[in-house]
Amino acid sequence: MNNLSKPSHSDFFSHLYIEESVIDEPLTKEIISKFSNSKIIMIKHYKDVFNRPNQDFAMQSRSKNLILARREAPFLYEGSYYSDGFEYENFFYTPSILGCLYDCDYCYLSGMYNSANSVLFVNTDDFFEALTPYLEKPTLIAISYDTDTLAIESITSHTKIWIEHAAKHPNLHLEIRTKSANFKAIKSLTCNENIVLAWTLSPQKIIESYEHKTPSLEKRLRSIKEAIDAGWKVRVCIDPVIYNEEFHELYPPLIDKLFNTIEPEKLFQLTLGSFRMSSTHLKRIKKLRRSDIAFYPYEIKDNIVSYSKEIEQNILETMIERATNYIPRTRIRTWQLQ
């Protein structure tokens, strides 16, 4: 038993768990055809697999599987306190995919879910129906809160489906947040003024240390440029900023690099924010024992962990000072603990 030198699963989705009720759905069939080598396991309810006790999130992250299911209500949740609602009266996020292909050490998903697997709800029409009563007013929907929809686009076509739905409803505004370099997946779609493509950027060193399985900074920047050139509204989010002794060497130059790649006036907005999280999620992330981020001596206020006021101020002031060399302050949004 001592000669241990065998590889783990190298590909995503070695196993597809499929709820019996969705086996005949077109999207299910399409996904099965894309993963002909995956083992198919029929299940009654996605929670039987996704919510099992005693799963090892870190271990599963190395070999993620996909669960196909039917979502039951609620289909919309009110936007989280931890993120910007952009002053919309109606601001929701959709849990249409749970879990992310990427594996970032600071992501709240690893503190929120028992499983590193992803759940895709194939009944998208039910989400649209739940949304209809709100569409008399401008309504912002964040479609990539509990996932990165563009990262999984080649499998699900989820972003495309939402963009096409938004094209039919002038009051439907979307925020599609991503770390992917996958703009090409939606390149052929018509631009929509009501949709913001929001890219999260980090310095390459931070990407290598904490944002496992994500594309490099260069690739993300190329994707951003392509999107802007194609006429899309793009927001860049340097959020969360991970603070350490190299902050000044890593983050202000990231802003320079961004604006050396794209024309500043063509960027819709820049969002800046430092790391914060619910203390409940952080406690669970600590148990994974994967990264220094979980163990920094944060301050805790109202169940939120964040850097000290002093550090947070330092981060924002430094970043805003550098960013205003390129764009006016009015196009910079910030998140700060009140």
């Binding site: 038993m1 590889p7 783990s8 768990y17 799963q55 090892d56 002794e245």
Partner: protein, 270 residues
Amino acid sequence: MLYIVIALSAEARAIVQMLKLKRVYTLPYTMFENEDVKLIISGMGNDNAMMATSTLLGHLPPCESDLLINIGICAAPKKYAIGESLLIHKITREEHSCFPDILFEHSLKESGLLTVDKPTDEEQQMPVDMESYGIYKAASRFLQTHQMLFYKVVSDHFEPHTVTKELAEELILANVKKIEDIISRAQYVMKKEKLFTTDEEELIQKISDLLSKSQSDAFVDACHYYKFHQKKPLHPKGTLHVSGIKAIDEKISKQERNKYFEQLIKTLTL
């Protein structure tokens, strides 16, 4: 540690020989062991399997790098050949199912499995045994979903009268190499580097003992931060403390303790 649960002595014989296990008498079960392996004969049936698994794991509680494997024969539909080995990814009993995680590549056929109460001669849709569900239920109190493996060898096509002790022994014997390979693969992906050395653990404990509970928690977190962030030893043997932390032996006042604690956190996290 590798825990092995097997229903019958005949099924265990080849495994005992392969792993060179010795008979032990610590529990009221037939058991075999060596330094790294504990094997228990549970007896047939779901309840027996559940009790034996609970007893074994309760007696020797496992840690996060341990693995449990159930090895045994099963009946199966005719599409499965006699002697074919299966790795089980879903175990069903009545209306309930459980799902062991298989997080490594392998060349075996995977299958669902039904656990029933009695040997059956009624054709079923999937392979059938009498123990796996009980083993999973008991083991899942102690182990994570990827720490449990269920390895089955097809013994018959729902003709229980054809299954003899000799056949069971022969079928497992023919699979010992494959079983060894599957165990190696599972253990490989479960391997985790230890964050702290024994010396470091001792130092952390010594310092923690001087602090209040909340200070001790914060100090242990700060040690984790230092090790992950700096990737340097906290306490290399025979040299000065690279991180600058050191335990103080004498009794200190509350005020001194607070000052000492602040210094520790500052040293480790700045």
